[in-house]
Symmetry: C2
Subunit: 577 residues, 2 copies
């Protein structure tokens, strides 16, 4: 028996594509497995409630049914396909929507065979907002063989859920194989976690585990594919990350399965959200440093996210504002290394009153290395004009933070003017440390369609840059890696004048954001009280900036963006000890 794992890569709502893919493969004999919600794409959000979408989807389903019935019968071919099942009330309002598996049989038709039981509703997931859960274990028979079916989260029972579909399902065995259709969002550690889990479940079910995941970048959320077949302790076969693929394989031979404990299905907060303190005991604690393999994964993820957003939103040009600093240099390098035929990338350098000559030289050198033209667009003149306009009309000159923000906002205005002129997508260059403490100017350096580095702490930005230099012939000038970070918005400004050193800052932030630590917890890890208090204060105060931020490419389990939901208005002492 042949198994085909279709690690598909299609857009939300592209029914035509889904239909063509499905119909064209059904002539090949074997058991075809498509990802969760292959028919519609995922995540849909409110789209799944909108009548025009529902009409189009139901029309697609009818078309598909008709086409499948018109095919010659073929008892050797069948497909398991993820889709939605609607029950509509009066006036077409959905009474229930279920996330299901359809069995598609040539010459016969399309039959619903299983409803997802465990609907994730934490972090970026809103499935309980839209879907009704199933209550029946996924048992399916084909050609005299019995298969165990799951959809994504069904394999992840945890303390968040009050039910465990795997333990329920295993009682219905023995099974020839376990099959999981997924639309599982990427994070750096996710692939390992999925495989670990699959090994456990393969032992539990005493059967091979087939895992098929979708590929796609949906704004900030990435689906990496990384499908696989696991049998006991063995990784039988796997697909690459971040590209469409078809894995064809036969049923793996039986292996010796190990007994599995009863508590297999208890996931903790930490295992779900995988925070990243270094296991080494240091004082203060440090962040874990990415391995080369992790850098490679993040590198691929970020290039993919950029290309997905561009392709799905019809951008063929990209635009990056270079400052001579680390973040913009890394963003430009990533964009360049992701570039496809027919695409263009433009860099602009917008020096102000406090920009040092070295910033221009380093930006220039970077563009030489990357083979890109660099345009300089000074803001000094506009800056002094704004100053004058204020002096004339308000009789008040400005200085300090106001003056800094004006420069940053002028750059925001100019880069978007260029974007309007060329149709280029502006890539934002903010990093997670900045976003966390509000070290950016709203409508200034915070502008952009997508911040590639928005889920990377500053220390991780450096680590990734060094790794790229190592693997890709040093595109980033050493001077950028070694100079002290600065916004260059006032004389001799350094990030470290306003913020703790990034090595400490990033660790405190990870403590707050992923470990949910309190002041006392952080102090007991070796951080100074004043430093911790300051970071909390900055973090709380920056909420309004995060609310208007662009979608932040998610590469970790806990990120800012869609899955982060914190009100702006609240008592200022809310986190105070």
């Amino acid at each position: 028996m042949q198994f085909h794992l279709h690690q598909s890569h299609n857009s939300i709502g592209d029914f035509e594509e889904a239909k063509i893919k499905l119909l064209s493969i059904m002539v090949r004999p074997g058991l075809h497995i498509f990802p969760e919600l292959f028919m519609t794409g995922y995540p849909l959000g409110d789209i799944c409630l909108q009548a025009p979408f529902i009409k189009n989807y139901l029309r697609f389903r009818e078309d598909l049914e008709r086409s499948v019935k018109q095919m010659p019968e073929n008892p050797d071919s069948v497909a398991l396909v993820g889709g939605l099942s609607y029950e509509l009330g009066e006036e077409g309002v959905p009474k229930s929507i279920r996330n299901v598996i359809f069995e598609v049989t040539p010459g016969k038709g399309v039959k619903e065979i299983y409803t997802k039981r465990l609907l994730p509703n934490y972090d970026i997931f809103d499935e309980q907002k839209y879907f009704t859960p199933g209550h029946t274990p996924g048992v399916w028979e084909w050609k005299g063989q019995k298969f165990a079916l799951m959809i994504c989260e069904d394999m992840w029972a945890s303390s968040f859920h009050q039910m465990d579909p795997a333990l329920d399902l295993v009682k219905e065995g023995p099974f020839t194989a376990v099959i999981n259709l997924s639309a599982s969002p990427f994070d750096v550690t996710k692939s390992d976690k999925r495989r670990d889990r699959a090994h456990t479940l393969s032992h539990l079910f005493k059967a091979p585990f087939f895992y098929v995941n979708r590929v796609g970048g949906e704004d900030e959320i990435l689906f990496d594919g990384s499908s696989f077949v696991i049998n006991g302790d063995e990784l039988v076969v796997f697909a690459p990350a971040f590209q469409g693929a078809i894995l064809t394989t036969t049923l793996p031979k039986s292996v010796e399965y190990k007994p599995v404990g009863v508590n297999i299905c208890e996931n903790t907060w930490e295992s779900l959200f995988s925070p990243r303190f270094s296991p080494e005991k240091t004082n203060p604690t440090r962040l874990k440093v990415w391995s080369d393999q992790e850098c490679q994964t993040v590198f691929e993820a970020l290039k993919f996210s950029l290309q997905e957003y561009a392709q799905k939103n019809q951008f063929k040009k990209f635009l990056v504002a270079l400052s001579g600093g680390m973040d913009s240099a890394l963003v430009l390098t990533l964009a360049k290394l992701s570039l496809r035929p027919g695409q263009e990338l433009e860099a602009i350098y917008m020096p102000g009153l406090y920009s040092q000559a070295i910033s221009w030289e380093l930006s220039h050198q970077l563009c030489l290395n990357l083979g890109l033209k660099l345009t300089s667009l000074p803001i000094k003149f506009l800056h002094s004009n704004v100053k004058m306009a204020f002096q004339n009309n308000f009789q008040e000159p400005f200085a300090g933070l106001t003056d800094e923000n004006v420069q940053s906002r002028l750059r925001g205005l100019l880069i978007y003017t260029r974007s309007n002129q060329t149709g280029a997508m502006v890539i934002n260059t903010s990093n997670k440390s900045e976003i966390a403490v509000g070290y950016s100017t709203q409508y200034g350096d915070a502008v952009g369609a997508l911040p590639l580095l928005g889920d990377l702490y500053k220390t991780e930005v450096y680590r990734l840059a060094e790794w790229i230099n190592d693997k890709h012939n040093d595109p980033i000038p050493k001077g950028i890696l070694t100079r002290a970070p600065s916004a260059e918005l006032r004389e001799n400004q350094k990030d470290q004048d306003s913020l703790p050193p990034y090595e400490r800052l990033d660790c405190i932030l990870e403590g707050i954001l992923s470990y949910r630590l309190s002041e006392q917890d952080l102090v007991s890890m070796g951080f100074a009280v004043e430093e911790v208090k300051k970071v909390f204060q900055l973090y709380v105060k920056a909420e309004y900036k995060r609310r208007q931020f662009c979608p932040i490419v998610k590469i970790k389990a806990k990120s800012f963006g869609f899955g982060y939901r914190v009100p702006i208005s609240k008592h200022p002492g809310i986190y105070q000890a």
Copy 2:
């Protein structure tokens, strides 16, 4: 027996205030009722998962418990108070969080007596993300009387839920009274809906219905209070909207209760989201026009939202950019009419190349009427400087949309420069029609902390302005109400050159957003195919602008903002017929 309904007005996480309020009232005899989650505030979002918040909350609970026990015993006084109940696992990670009612008895202590059963998870609600539901009807006895307890949504069984707490609870009767602790978000029609429902439930339970709702503006979400006691068909007593209040009353006398049908608890999509087509048959269909009462309610809601945001985020000054058009005139008027002692309001007029003299005159007249100083800050010079900078550095002049956006972004930059200088809160002036079709410039006129009119269609902006003129001595010059809407970003520009007339546009938008209609549906209501197609196209294309918009003050059941979750990246034909 005395009942005290505490329509409280306190901030998220202000435990000190909650404790003082609670302890100070317990000396008064009677049954004190506080709103849902009075102890913590609502909605908390991810805050309820954060360890420092949990620690502070549990410390407050211990403090409260101790203080209550130290009070002299008083068998005539008891309080029902909404709060959270945590079950913490290893390392303080919440295993379950329940939304509960505490019974607080002087000299005795604090006892958990009921868990919310129906957790709303649609639209702005994310309660299933955080809370675990209860499974037991809310029966509570005090002084030999039996009371039925509910928390907010428990009274709203609907097709969204698969359970009906009211029908479950009524079986446990008879009850002396039904008591509902709520944190129920405001919309224009909500108060009527709540009362209608309470009449029905009072008849069903054959007992008076006590409804206590919180007051507060939490970013975009407003809680109006509007607490009441209803008995059968009678409205016994009610509290004002948008202010803290204590209703003190005795148990209403028994009335004749009517039999209630079985299907009382079926809510439809339309009754939950109350769309607003006019019931009159016209071709094409029109929006329903707000009544005077509705205008009054919206007027109060918008003033309240501004003041709440300002107070909770420490703003004492407000800043509005006047254009000489309707939206900014209404925003300035609302801000002025909401002003409290010690607050300041500043208006700025930023004329460009295409601003007409009449725009200045009307802005000037408006400020005279409102007793406000108006500063003019022309952008012409800066505009031509930006143009020159592009010509010099890119050898490409710009025109068309780019040129329009530059003007709008210069205004965004200047108003935020002024805001930085004075610490004023910038009030955004966009309306719902613009936000829906993307008729605004990102980082230009789309900037601001809060868009007061973001949930009002343009025709509603006019209606409210006319109502205000009628009731408040014509502050808005007639010329503003009668001139054709224009962004004045090019020669002789009119909104109507790019958009359908607002009367039709608004109705099509309401069809798409609240009725979830398709192209065909709208065409069958009398709209031209091309017009409908165009609106759909503009609506889909504007998603990226909405993602970075400020929190939009919610005054309707279906609004943009937190409860609106639609991906940017999707197949462009997703809604096409």
